[in-house]
Symmetry: C2
Subunit: 539 residues, 2 copies
């Protein structure tokens, strides 16, 4: 039953995966001390025989139709994990891959409720699966104490249920991917405007379940800001929330569902706040001299409430890498241009505006640019370069793994007054753990009270224990984050951050989550091991 | 032990309570068929003997100091209710007044935790008490199944704990009143900007516990939007939440505390997002022809994201009453002016902007006014008239009660596409229940997807059963709201809306609240009877 799994089997990244340009590889080798190019070993990944009982399979088939309970290895391996570095290693044969016994594909919210009923009856753990783009182990096929585990693929819940153009609310099913949501809303002149790096594959349900934040979050808001209501299937029945744009009718229970990562229920439909499609977009590059000056610029943009829809500040290392990777004449030209203007520590700032008219765009741009006065303008080409490459990060990782690079990202957020310390501490933790490495950082989500930090780490892979190498580094970074910021600003908790959640929400917070879980999922079939350790959900 | 309770004993409304002008009274009498002016009967309100046991009193005194456990009738009667019409009637001897056995005044968050411990040990129900401005029974001294009930007055938690001017976060204790918060922040050049009608007395803790929305919510946000973090005392210990401006670390548990109305814990400190104090403010009046046209104007302002900080549209009846109450030459002049401009169904629209500079104000005003093009401008005097009277509503109610008027408000919110239906249905329900009456409505909180509706009701009081008269009308209005909007946009649930909450959040929602309650307040001492019926909290 061995299967060689091509990454392309696991989803639908559009375009080429491609390799790295030679000049980039040369630069990287120099920085992190990369060994000579290795050919990755061809390792078979095995799904094993499905342990789904015949009775359970029949019961599931009776709900969703026989063709929609899949036990073939390709289907099962394709829903065995997400896109973290460790997931990628596992798919290359490094580390153990938890493979679901079956993939179940319901077609309606009612079928999802019925599937959960079957899972309770047959002691099956259920892992809700959207685009499979989790980078924190959120879709790992863990079974907890259940007899078997199935992946609940929401791909057939792919409908635009309704549009209310007056209230600007669209009801979208959970399995609708981000590009498909845009395609469905386009004839109505509407957009969701949610553009995370996982855009090409991620789904509406996944965005809600993980509190996703897109690249244009300064303009369109985080995904939870876009959620007007939710429809949720739970083992205890359906739960529908959201009757008004705002309410004082007790605690906001919608906020308990959003971010619940499939442990309380399966989000089947989301009432999404939508906006008119922008008529014009413009992206521009600026360079600020030094990270501290750059964060002050972004803070001023946020606190004066003139943020661009996309606002993204790279630190010196990330800026250097961007230039190194772009290579050739262009990078040299930019470097000379900046040097001539006395910029010693260039930090790239990309701003992007969407608007309904040229006039509106000009007005908004002028308000932002007034705050960015001291920066060197690189103009539209640098902004467009960023836009062009905005989804390539995940693809480049495969190319980097091919040449023996340990490559991963992590992110956090904190108040402005702690931002510098948080960045320093995380960088130190990563560098101490990994030795010779490149740790880049950018700020891509800004608020009046603080901002996010996003780190990209590159190091030479430990050939003997690449998983262990990253685990040590990730633990060190997570310890550095705890107490200074949130363990995740937009990647969610999954398995990887679960050990750190209690430090953030307190023992009482964990007990509250466990109590909610017992109401909605009393037998604990839903996504065991995610968010908080399964044993905390009992009691 | 009989006590005549003056309303002024119960708080500190600044300025005159005052009476109604003669012309206004004449107009009102004609509209609602008011009987000849009555002198209200002087009814003694009785606190009764405090049932607090000596042991409990000593234990509480050991925590807060002997002078801070008060059992005198004036203290107890002063914390026996809020400011709903029924509360006002009760304070005038109509209907039963639940009076706490004692008033306990802790001075620190730690003392609040210790007080809760004493209450659990001595079987005392605890009603957290801030400004006492609830209009939904939120501070009624109900004891549930406990031996006695104490009011936990947070007035001594009156400190500005810290200010982080870089992150624009101020930590304020729960008992700080809104004006005091502004006074404390003023030297730092900062403001909360939260200005509900209860501004003069309401507290930071109360705002958070009830999801308050202020008159400038379009500019500053609802109070929950201003909450960066909370510190909560519960019988299970302290709970501190909020480490970043935004997070994907699981469900947002802060949103479970905000709006919990004292049933999960006592909010002792709030990390509040603050803003620079505005340098300039400007309020202007406009008149739109007809409610439907008016709501379309406000919807356009909201959806184009150019709302004024204060945005308030009165319907025809409220506009007529405003003119009638202002009386005299001014009203006649406005009527003639509007008639000359062909306005048939005048609806007053007040817009108010706050800004850091004249230039900024002009730019923001221009963006709003471009959308309001079709309206007749009444200019600054009408805007200033609204600002001048913005807190007088609660005071006028006392004057109206004095002359035998049933006067109450209620509010809701829904999506734009259901707004007209919601207003029609609530008006019909109130009019059917009350007969000859004035039902006024305004829209004062607008969002991209919908808006709030605020109703003010005036009718001749049923002299025999004024409480029963209002209960019937309120029930009819609440039934009309259920299914079309939220049972409360900013007044909260308290006792009055508790029967309607399940229709909004579902049976599962109630079970989830009950499960959270059992974790944080296992013996159920906290605010019995509020939010959801006490028996639902067991299970």
């Amino acid at each position: 039953m061995g299967e060689r799994i091509d990454q392309n089997l696991r989803g639908s990244w559009s375009g080429d995966v491609g390799g790295l340009p030679v000049h980039a590889l040369r630069w990287l080798s120099g920085r992190i001390g990369l060994a000579a190019r290795r050919t990755p070993a061809a390792v078979d990944v095995t799904a094993g025989v499905s342990g789904l009982s015949a009775a359970a399979g029949e019961a599931l088939g009776a709900v969703v139709g026989d063709g929609h309970v899949r036990v073939d290895p390709v289907s099962r391996l394709g829903r065995a994990g997400g896109l973290s570095y460790v997931d990628l290693l596992r798919y290359r044969g490094g580390g153990e891959l938890a493979v679901p016994e079956a993939v179940v594909l319901p077609a309606t919210p009612e079928q999802v409720v019925a599937v959960l009923g079957v899972c309770v009856e047959h002691d099956l753990a259920v892992v809700p699966f959207g685009g499979g783009t989790s980078v924190v182990g959120g879709v790992a096929a863990l079974r907890g104490d259940k007899a078997a585990v199935v992946a609940l693929d929401l791909g057939r819940l792919d409908r635009l249920v309704s549009v209310d153009p007056v209230s600007r609310i669209a009801v979208l099913q959970a399995g609708v991917t981000a590009p498909e949501a845009e395609r469905l809303l386009s004839p109505h002149g509407l957009t969701v405007g949610h553009v995370p790096q996982s855009f090409e594959r991620a789904t509406i349900g996944g965005f809600a379940a993980t509190r996703s934040a897109g690249q244009a979050s300064s303009g369109y808001g985080r995904f939870e800001d876009m959620v007007e209501g939710v429809r949720v299937a739970t083992p205890a029945g359906e739960w529908v929330l959201g009757s008004a744009p705002a309410s004082a009718a007790g605690p906001d229970l919608k906020e308990l569902v959003v971010g619940s990562e499939g442990v309380f229920g399966v989000i089947t439909e989301v009432s999404v706040r939508v906006r008119p499609r922008p008529v014009v977009e413009r992206y521009e590059g600026f360079v600020v001299d030094g990270w501290e000056a750059g964060t002050e610029v972004v803070r001023a943009l946020a606190q004066r409430r003139v943020l661009a829809d996309v606002t993204r500040l790279s630190d010196e290392d990330e800026t250097e890498v961007s230039l190194a990777l772009s290579g050739g004449v262009k990078a040299a030209g930019v470097r000379a241009y900046l040097k001539a203007r006395g910029v010693k520590r260039p930090c790239l700032l990309v701003l992007g505006w969407h608007a309904g008219s040229e006039k509106e765009l000009r007005a908004r741009r002028a308000a932002s640019v007034a705050v960015v006065r001291g920066a060197v303008r690189l103009g539209k080409p640098m902004g467009e370069a960023w836009r062009h490459g905005r989804f390539t990060g995940p693809r480049q990782r495969d190319a980097l793994l091919d040449v023996g690079v340990c490559v991963e990202t992590l992110e956090t957020a904190t108040h402005w007054s702690r931002l510098a310390e948080l960045r320093d501490e995380v960088r130190r933790a990563l560098t101490d753990a990994l030795g010779r490495s490149v740790v880049m950082c950018h700020l891509s989500h800004a608020y009046e009270t603080g901002a996010s930090l996003y780190f990209t780490v590159l190091a030479a892979q430990d050939a003997d224990d690449p998983v262990g190498q990253w685990r040590v580094a990730k633990a060190a970074a997570s310890e550095a984050v705890a107490g200074l910021g949130t363990i995740s600003h937009h990647h969610a908790v999954g398995v990887d951050h679960a050990p750190y959640l209690e430090a953030e929400i307190g023992g009482l917070g964990v007990e509250v989550l466990a109590a909610v879980k017992r109401v909605l999922d009393p037998t604990g079939v839903l996504n065991p091991g995610k968010l908080i350790a399964s044993e905390r959900f009992r009691g």
